[in-house]
C-alpha cells in the first residue's frame, strides 16, 4: 500500500529534481576568458617537450581510418607531437558547433578545429575566440596555396582566421542513362530547365527531390531561383542585407517556387523529410534531379549506385558569369589553444599538396589546395567538379552561410510557408523583410 507520508516525500523529491533540472537545461558554461594576445608565429616545440595536439573535427569512423596514415606520417616527422582526434561525426552543422562552443567557453578548447565558412564561423570570430592566422600565412607561405575565391570567402574584415580545407560546389545531379533513354538533354537556360521539368512530369516523374527537415536542402533550390530572378549583383546585396527582402525579384523567386510545387515538379510533402531521405526518389527513378554538392559522388558510391550512370550540371541562371552555389570549409585555431604553433604546423602538413598527393584519401578529393587532384579514374565526377570549382570566376554562398542562424531560421520560416502555400509570395517577402528588420534592431 502507498504510505501517504512516504509517497509525499517521494513526490516532493521527484518534483524538486524535475523542476530544478528544467531550470538547468540552458545553463551555459562559464564565460570564456578574454581572447589572449595573438601569439607570434613562433617556432613549434622542438625536440624534447612532448605535446598532445587536440584536433576537433567531424570525420566519421571510415574517414578516421583513412586519416590515420596521414597523422602517423606527421607524428613520424615530429615525434614530440601526438595528435589526438576529437570527432563529432554525423551531425553536420547541427551539433558540432555547440560541442565546440562549449569546449571553448569552458576554457578547454582544442588546439585546432574544423569549421565551415561564413556565418557559421562568424560567431567564433566575433567573440574573439579564434586567432588571426595572418602571421602563419606569412611564415608558412600559405598565400597562393589555395583557390583564390575560397580564401576570399573565409576572410572576415580583411583578416584570415582560417586555412582553407575544402572547396565545395553544388549543382543538379541526374541519371544520364535514364535521361538518354528519355531523350532529355542538359538545359542551358532557365526556360529550358522548366521545359525539362514539364517533360519529366509528363513522363510520370517529379523534377526534383528535396528533404526539407532542416531547411537548408530546400534553401538550395530557393537560392537558385534568387540567383536567376535577382541576378548576381542583387543576390549578393540581399545576402549582405544591403537590399530589401521585399524586392520584386524575391517575390518572383517565391512565386517560381510555388509554381514548381503547383505543377507537381517537386516530390510532395517534403518539408520535414530528412535531406538524406530525399535521395530515395532520385535513386528509384521517381525524381529526375537532386541539388547536391561535389561530395555526392561519394554518396552514390556508398549507396552502391553505378557512377557511370550519373552526371551533374550547373543550374542555368541566364546570367553571365554562370554562378553556382559554393562554400569553403576551413581549419581554425582557438585563441586559447595550448599549442597554436604546433597546430599551425599540423595544418601546414595536412594542406600541403605533397602530403595530399601522397595520401589520396577521400577527404582530400575536394581539397582547396591548388595542385591536388583526385584519381580521375576512381573519382571521375569529383575530377570534373574540381576543374569547375578551382577555375570558377565567381560563386554565390548558400544563404545559411551568409546569414546568422537566428536570421536564417526566419528565412526557413518564410520558405516553409511559401512551400505550404500559407503565404502569397508578396506576404512571404514582406515577412522576410520584417524578420531582417527585427534582427537588425536587436
Amino acid at each position: 500500500m502507498f504510505d501517504r507520508k512516504n509517497l509525499m516525500k517521494l513526490l516532493a523529491l521527484t518534483m524538486l529534481v524535475s523542476l530544478l533540472a528544467s531550470a538547468c537545461v540552458a545553463t551555459p558554461p562559464q564565460a570564456a576568458a578574454p581572447a589572449g594576445e595573438q601569439p607570434a608565429a613562433a617556432q613549434p616545440a622542438a625536440g624534447g617537450e612532448q605535446i598532445t595536439l587536440r584536433w576537433a573535427n567531424i570525420i566519421d569512423a571510415t574517414g578516421q581510418e583513412q586519416w590515420k596514415a596521414v597523422v602517423d606520417a606527421f607524428q613520424a616527422k615530429y615525434p614530440n607531437i601526438r595528435v589526438v582526434s576529437e570527432s563529432t561525426a554525423g551531425s553536420g552543422a547541427a551539433i558540432y558547433p555547440d560541442v565546440l562552443k562549449t569546449s571553448i567557453a569552458s576554457g578547454s578548447p582544442p588546439d585546432l578545429f574544423f569549421m565551415w565558412g561564413g556565418s557559421i564561423a562568424q560567431p567564433f570570430i566575433d567573440a574573439g575566440q579564434v586567432m588571426d592566422l595572418g602571421p602563419y600565412y606569412d611564415k608558412f607561405g600559405w598565400h597562393g596555396k589555395f583557390a583564390p575565391w575560397v580564401v576570399e570567402r573565409i576572410k572576415s574584415d580583411g583578416k584570415l582566421y582560417g586555412v582553407p580545407y575544402h572547396a565545395l560546389g553544388m549543382g543538379f545531379w541526374y541519371n544520364k542513362t535514364l535521361w538518354n533513354e528519355k531523350g532529355w538533354s542538359v538545359p542551358t537556360t532557365f526556360a529550358e530547365q522548366e521545359e525539362l521539368c514539364a517533360k519529366m512530369k509528363e513522363a510520370g516523374m517529379y523534377c526534383v527531390s528535396i528533404g526539407g527537415k532542416f531547411g537548408w536542402h530546400t534553401m538550395r533550390v530557393l537560392d537558385y531561383f534568387l540567383e536567376h530572378h535577382c541576378g548576381p549583383e542583387l543576390h549578393d546585396k540581399l545576402n549582405r542585407l544591403e537590399e530589401r527582402w521585399d524586392h520584386p525579384c524575391v517575390i518572383d523567386s517565391y512565386a517560381t517556387f510555388q509554381k514548381w510545387i503547383d505543377n507537381g515538379w517537386v516530390v510532395p510533402d517534403f518539408l520535414t523529410v530528412s535531406p538524406d531521405d530525399s535521395r530515395f526518389p532520385f535513386f528509384a527513378g521517381e525524381a529526375g534531379l537532386v541539388l547536391e554538392g561535389v561530395w555526392y559522388e561519394g554518396v552514390l558510391k556508398n549507396n552502391e549506385q553505378n557512377i557511370a550512370d550519373y552526371d551533374f550540371y550547373l543550374p542555368p541562371t541566364d546570367h553571365t558569369p554562370l554562378r553556382f552555389s559554393a562554400f569553403p570549409e576551413q581549419w581554425m585555431i582557438p585563441s586559447g589553444a595550448a599549442h597554436p604553433d604546433e597546430a599551425a604546423l599540423f595544418i601546414d602538413f595536412i594542406t600541403s599538396p605533397e602530403v595530399q598527393t601522397q595520401f589520396p584519401i577521400n577527404d582530400f578529393a575536394n581539397s582547396a589546395t591548388i595542385g591536388v587532384n583526385p584519381d580521375c579514374n576512381e573519382w571521375p565526377l569529383t575530377c570534373k567538379w574540381r576543374e569547375i570549382i578551382l577555375s570558377a570566376e565567381d560563386t554565390y554562398p548558400p544563404t545559411d552561410q551568409a546569414f546568422v542562424k537566428e536570421l536564417m531560421d526566419g528565412f526557413f520560416e518564410v520558405q516553409d510557408a511559401i512551400v505550404a502555400k500559407r503565404m502569397t509570395p508578396e506576404e512571404g517577402a514582406a515577412l522576410m523583410q520584417r524578420r531582417v528588420e527585427e534582427w537588425q534592431a536587436r
Binding site: M1, A23, A32, P97, K101, F270
Partner: protein
C-alpha cells in the same frame, strides 16, 4: 571531541539534543554538497545569465534587467506559439496517455493469461530512448515510403495518406501521437502498483452489498488511486513542459515554426542563435510555469 564529552554527560539533555541535530546533517553533507555544486549553483548561474545579454562565448556580458523576460511575453511570436504548443501538449498528456495507462492497468491487473508478457509489451516503449523513438516514427510518417501511408493505401484509405509531419495542421498531433505511444507505459506501471495495493476486502464487501463494476471502479478503485494520480499528473505536467527530444528529432520545430515548444526554442536560442541570456530566461519560464501548475495541485492533494 566535544560530542564525545557530551555523551559522557547523560544528565545534560540540552547539549545532547544539539548533538542529535548535527548528526543527520553530517550524513546529508556529501549529497548536499554534490547537490549545491551540480544543481543549485548552475541554477543560480542560469538565473543570473537570464538577466544578461550574452552570446555564450565571449567575455562581453551586459546586464539588461528583465528585458529577456519582457521579450518572451511581449515581443517574441514564436515563444508564444511554443507556449501554446506546450499547453496543448500538457492537456493532451494529462488526458490521453494517463487515461490509456489507467485502462491498461485495470485490464492487466486482472488474472489474464500472458499478462506479464502484455505488461512488458505495453511498458516496452517507455524504456526506449526518445531520440530513437522519434527517428523510428519519423520514418513511419515518411510521405513517400512510410509505413503509415503504406498501410492506409493498402486498406483503401489512400485518400487519408499525407505528409503527416510536413503539413502544418498535422505535424504537432502526429508528433504527439508518438509521445502517447511512448508515454503510456509509465502511468500504467504506477497505476498497476497502486491497484495492487487496494485491499481486496473492500471489493468483496461492496459486491456483497450488490455494487456493480462501474460502482466498484468509481467508489473504490478511483479513490484509492488518488495518491498515484498526484504522481502521474504532476510528472505529466512537468515532462510536458520539458518536451524536447521528439520535436527535435521528428520535426526540428517545423514546418516553419509550427511545432516549436519552449524546450526547443530555448535550445535554439541558447546554442544555435548564440543568445545564452535569452535561452536561460526561457528555461526559467519553463521552470516557473511548471512550478505554478504543479505545486497547487500537490498541496491540495496533500491536504486531502
Amino acid at each position: 571531541m566535544s560530542t564525545i564529552t557530551d555523551e559522557l554527560l547523560p544528565n545534560r539533555p540540552m547539549r545532547r539534543r544539539k548533538r542529535i541535530r548535527l548528526t543527520p546533517y553530517l550524513f546529508l553533507a556529501p549529497a548536499l554538497i554534490w547537490y549545491l555544486i551540480f544543481l543549485v549553483y548552475p541554477m543560480y548561474q542560469s538565473l543570473v545569465i537570464s538577466f544578461m545579454r550574452w552570446d555564450g562565448l565571449s567575455a562581453d556580458i551586459q546586464f539588461i534587467g528583465v528585458e529577456n523576460y519582457r521579450r518572451i511575453f511581449f515581443e517574441d511570436d514564436t515563444a508564444r506559439l511554443a507556449l501554446r504548443n506546450n499547453v496543448l501538449w500538457t492537456l493532451g498528456t494529462l488526458l490521453i496517455p494517463t487515461t490509456i495507462g489507467l485502462m491498461l492497468a485495470v485490464a492487466l491487473d486482472r488474472k489474464l493469461r500472458g499478462r506479464t508478457v502484455l505488461r512488458a509489451i505495453f511498458y516496452g516503449p517507455a524504456v526506449l530512448p526518445l531520440v530513437a523513438v522519434g527517428m523510428i516514427w519519423a520514418w513511419m510518417y515518411n510521405p513517400q515510403f512510410g509505413f503509415i501511408n503504406y498501410v492506409l493505401k493498402s486498406i483503401g484509405l489512400g485518400f487519408l495518406a499525407r505528409g503527416w509531419l510536413s503539413v502544418y495542421e498535422t505535424a504537432l498531433p502526429a508528433t504527439f501521437l508518438t509521445a502517447v505511444w511512448g508515454g503510456v507505459g509509465f502511468p500504467m506501471v504506477l497505476y498497476l502498483a497502486a491497484l495492487q495495493a487496494i485491499p481486496q476486502e473492500q471489493y468483496e464487501a461492496a459486491k456483497m452489498d450488490g455494487a456493480n463494476s462501474r460502482q466498484l471502479f468509481w467508489n473504490i478503485t478511483l479513490p484509492w488511486l488518488r495518491e498515484a494520480n498526484v504522481i502521474v499528473f504532476s510528472l505529466a505536467v512537468i515532462n510536458s513542459f520539458k518536451t524536447f527530444d521528439l520535436i527535435y528529432t521528428m520535426t526540428y520545430g517545423g514546418p516553419g515554426r509550427s511545432t516549436q515548444v519552449l524546450g526547443t526554442w530555448m535550445y535554439f536560442h541558447a546554442f544555435q542563435y548564440y543568445n545564452a541570456g535569452y535561452g536561460a530566461a526561457i528555461a526559467w519560464v519553463i521552470a516557473a510555469i511548471t512550478l505554478v501548475m504543479a505545486i497547487p495541485y500537490i498541496q491540495r492533494m496533500s491536504r486531502d
